[in-house]
C-alpha cells in the first residue's frame, strides 16, 4: 500500500490515519490555489532567511563604515545600498526579518491563547460570567487598536518586549469573540452532555472537548491577523516606540530613511518592500487557508 492509498483509505484504521487523510485532502486543495502557494513560499522563505541571517548577511548589520555612507543600490558589495551610517541595507533587512518573526511569534502564542480561554469560558458557562467577560471584550474592542497600543507603550516604556505586550493586549478580543461563537454552537451537543454524564469537570470539557472545536476558526484568524501584527509592530517602530535603534527593525529603518527620502530614496524603500512582501505573503496564505479550512466553505 502506497502512502497515498493509506492516506485516502475510506476505512481508516485509526484516528490518526483519518486525521492525516483529512490534512492530505486539505493540502491538495490548498495546492491548487497558486496565490496561496505564493503566500506559503514567502512565509517559508521568511523563516529560512531569519534562521540563516547570520550566514546570509554579507556584513554585520550594525557595522558602520562612514566612508561608504548613502551608497545607491547595486554598488559593488552593497546590493541594496547603504544607509547614513554606511551600514549595509541588505544585511539589516535580513537581520530585521528575525525581529519581525520574533514579534509575530510572541504575539501569536499569547493573544489567541488568551482569547481562546476567555471566549470558551464565557461561552460554556454563560450567564453572568459570559456577560462580564464579553463586556470586557467589548470595551477592548471599542478602543482604537493602534491608539491603545500607543498609550500602553507610553505607560510601559519603549522597547520591543513592551511593543509585543501592547500588541498582544490589543489583539485578543476578536479571538475571544470567535471562540465564544464556536463554543455556543457545540455547547448543547449530545457529546458534551455524554461527557458531562461521565463526570468530567468543566475544565476538562472546555480543554478537551470544546477548545479543539474552536481551533480551526481561531487558526484562520491568526493567519489573517499576522499581516496586521507586522504592520502594527512596524508602525510602532516607525514612531520610535517599538524596537530601538541601532537594532535592525524594518519600521525603524524606514523612519531613519525618511530624513533623506527625496535624495536617497532607497534607504526607506528597501525595508518597506520587505514589510510589504511578508505581509502580502501572510495575507495570501491566510486567504488560501481559510478557503480550505473554513467549515462553512467546506460543507
Amino acid at each position: 500500500m502506497t502512502l497515498t492509498e493509506w492516506l485516502l483509505d475510506p476505512n481508516p484504521k485509526s484516528r490518526a490515519q483519518s486525521r492525516a487523510g483529512q490534512a492530505w485532502l486539505q493540502w491538495l486543495r490548498f495546492r491548487r490555489n497558486p496565490l496561496a502557494m505564493l503566500g506559503l513560499f514567502i512565509t517559508v522563505a521568511l523563516v529560512l532567511l531569519a534562521l540563516f541571517a547570520p550566514w546570509l548577511a554579507p556584513y554585520d548589520p550594525t557595522a558602520q563604515e562612514l566612508a561608504n555612507r548613502l551608497q545607491p543600490p547595486l554598488t559593488t558589495g552593497h546590493l541594496m545600498g547603504t544607509d547614513d551610517f554606511g551600514r549595509d541595507i541588505l544585511s539589516r533587512v535580513l537581520w530585521g526579518s528575525r525581529t519581525t518573526l520574533y514579534i509575530v511569534g510572541l504575539v501569536i502564542v499569547t493573544a489567541p491563547v488568551a482569547g481562546l480561554i476567555i471566549g470558551t469560558v464565557a461561552g460554556y458557562f454563560g450567564g453572568w460570567v459570559d456577560a462580564v467577560l464579553m463586556r470586557i471584550t467589548d470595551i477592548f474592542l471599542a478602543f482604537p487598536k493602534l491608539i491603545l497600543a500607543l498609550a500602553l507603550v507610553a505607560v510601559l516604556g519603549k522597547g520591543m518586549e513592551n511593543a509585543v505586550l501592547a500588541i498582544a493586549l490589543t489583539s485578543w478580543p476578536p479571538y475571544a469573540r470567535v471562540a465564544r461563537a464556536e463554543t455556543l454552537t457545540v455547547r448543547n451537543s449530545d457529546y458534551i452532555a455524554a461527557t458531562l454524564l461521565q463526570g468530567a469537570s468543566s475544565a476538562r470539557i472546555i480543554w478537551g472537548h470544546i477548545m479543539p472545536m474552536c481551533l480551526p476558526s481561531v487558526i484562520i484568524r491568526v493567519t489573517l491577523d499576522m499581516a496586521g501584527i507586522i504592520l502594527t509592530a512596524a508602525g510602532l517602530g516607525f514612531l520610535g516606540l517599538g524596537v530601538q535603534p541601532p537594532d535592525a527593525e524594518w519600521g525603524v529603518m524606514i523612519s531613519a530613511g525618511r530624513k533623506f527620502l527625496f535624495e536617497q530614496w532607497w534607504v526607506a524603500t528597501m525595508p518597506g518592500l520587505a514589510i510589504f512582501t511578508v505581509s502580502l505573503g501572510f495575507n495570501l496564505m491566510g486567504d488560501g487557508l481559510r478557503d480550505v479550512l473554513d467549515p462553512k466553505g467546506a460543507r
Binding site: R135, I136, D138, I139, A142, F143, P144, K145, L146, I147, L148, L150, A151, L152, V153, A154, V155, G157, A227, L231, A234, G235, F238, L239, G240, L241, G251, I254, R258, L261, F262, W265, A268, T269, G272, I275, F276, S279, L280, F282, N283, L284, D287
Partner: protein
C-alpha cells in the same frame, strides 16, 4: 416575556434603549482603562507640573490639590464627573485645556477620513458589485489583488513612496502639511475658522486659490487612506453581493424578464446595503484611528499626530484625553451603524 407581540416602534425603542445602556457601560469601561493607565504611568504628575526642584511642602500641597491623597474610588468618581462635564484635564505641554486642543485638531482628521471614506465607497462598492457579478473574471482577479495589496501595505511607507513619486518626482500634488507655506501664513488672517476643516472654511471665505492649494495637499493622504478603505469595502461588497445573487428573488426577477442591470443594481444592491452600512461605519472608524501614521507622514495637524506628539514628550493628560475622544467617536459610530442597521433591515426591528 410579553404574550402579545409589541408593535415594531416599541420594540425599536427598547432595542435602542438596550444599545444605549450597553454603550454607557462601554464608555465607563473606557474611562476605567484610561484611569488605570493614568495611575500606573511612571511620569509623576506632580513633578511634571512643578518641575524637579519643588520643595516637600509644595509637593504635598500640589498632591492635595490634585486629589492624589484621596482613596482611588473617590479619585475615579471625580475623574468621571470631570470627563462627563467635558473636562479632560490640562495639557502639560501647552497648559491649555485638552478638550479645546482636541477640538482644534480633530476636524483635520475628520476632514481627511471623511474624504477618504467617500472615495473608498464610491470606488469600492461598484467594484465589489461588478466583481460579484463576474466571479473569476479578470476584473474580479484584479480587484481582489488590488485589495490584497492595499491590505498588506504599511500605510506610513505607502505615504512616503507617494510623496517621493507624486510630490518629489512628478510635482503633481502638494507636499506635507495642509497648505503651501505661503498660503499657510495668510490663512489665519484671511479665513475665519468656522469648522476648522480647511476645504470648507476656505470655500466659505471665497478664497478659491487657497482652496485649490488645500485640495492639492489633501489628495495624496486621502487617496492613500481611501485605498485601505476601498480594499475592505470592495471585498465585503463582493461577498455580500455573491450571497444575494444566489437568492431566489433574484431568479424570480430574472424570470420576469427584468433587465439584468436592474436586477443587480436595484434588487441585489439594495439588499446588500444593510450589512454594508456596518462595514462602511467600521472602515470609517478604522480610518479615524488609522490616520495616526498617515498624519505623521504628511505633517497633518490631526488627532493622531496630537496624540503621538504628546506621547513622545510624556504629556499624559493630552494622550489620554485624545484617546477618550477617539474612543467616544468609535463608540458613537458603532451606535449609529447599529441604529441605521435596524432602521434599514425590517427583520432586525
Amino acid at each position: 416575556m410579553a404574550e402579545t407581540p409589541s408593535p415594531p416602534a416599541v420594540r425599536f425603542l427598547t432595542q435602542t434603549g438596550k444599545t444605549l445602556f450597553s454603550l454607557a457601560l462601554t464608555f465607563l469601561g473606557l474611562l476605567v482603562v484610561t484611569f488605570i493607565i493614568a495611575r500606573v504611568v511612571p511620569v509623576d504628575p506632580v513633578t511634571a507640573i512643578l518641575g524637579e526642584r519643588a520643595t516637600g511642602a509644595q509637593i504635598a500641597e500640589m498632591r492635595a490639590r490634585l486629589g492624589l491623597d484621596d482613596p482611588l474610588w473617590q479619585q475615579f468618581g471625580i475623574y468621571l464627573w470631570d470627563v462627563v462635564h467635558g473636562d479632560l484635564g490640562t495639557s502639560i505641554r501647552t497648559r491649555d485645556p485638552v478638550l479645546a486642543e482636541v477640538g482644534r485638531y480633530f476636524p483635520a482628521t475628520l476632514e481627511l477620513s471623511t474624504l477618504a471614506t467617500i472615495i473608498g465607497v464610491l470606488i469600492g462598492v461598484p467594484a465589489g458589485v461588478l466583481a460579484a457579478t463576474r466571479p473569476g473574471s479578470i476584473f474580479d482577479q484584479v480587484t481582489r489583488l488590488f485589495g490584497l495589496i492595499g491590505y498588506s501595505m504599511p500605510v506610513f511607507w505607502l505615504g512616503l513612496m507617494g510623496l517621493l513619486l507624486f510630490y518629489g518626482h512628478l510635482g503633481w500634488v502638494g507636499g506635507p502639511g495642509r497648505l503651501d507655506s505661503a498660503y499657510d501664513m495668510m490663512f489665519d488672517f484671511k479665513v475665519p475658522a468656522v469648522t476648522h476643516m480647511i476645504l470648507i472654511d476656505t470655500a466659505l471665505a471665497g478664497e478659491w486659490a487657497m482652496w485649490r492649494n488645500a485640495v492639492s495637499h489633501i489628495v495624496l493622504p486621502a487617496g492613500i487612506l481611501a485605498w485601505l478603505s476601498m480594499a475592505y469595502i470592495s471585498r465585503m461588497t463582493r461577498s455580500f453581493m455573491m450571497n444575494e445573487m444566489g437568492q431566489e428573488y433574484i431568479t424570480t426577477a430574472r424570470v420576469k424578464g427584468m433587465p439584468e442591470r436592474r436586477v443587480i443594481w436595484v434588487h441585489g444592491l439594495r439588499n446588500t446595503m444593510v450589512p454594508l452600512i456596518t462595514v462602511i461605519a467600521l472602515s470609517y472608524a478604522y480610518l479615524l484611528e488609522g490616520a495616526v501614521l498617515t498624519e505623521t507622514i504628511f505633517a497633518w495637524p490631526g488627532i493622531g499626530r496630537y496624540i503621538t506628539d504628546a506621547l513622545l514628550i510624556g504629556d499624559m493628560p493630552a494622550v489620554l484625553g485624545g484617546t477618550i475622544v477617539v474612543g467616544c467617536v468609535y463608540i458613537g459610530l458603532n451606535m449609529v451603524s447599529d441604529i441605521l442597521y435596524r432602521l434599514a433591515d425590517p427583520r432586525a426591528r
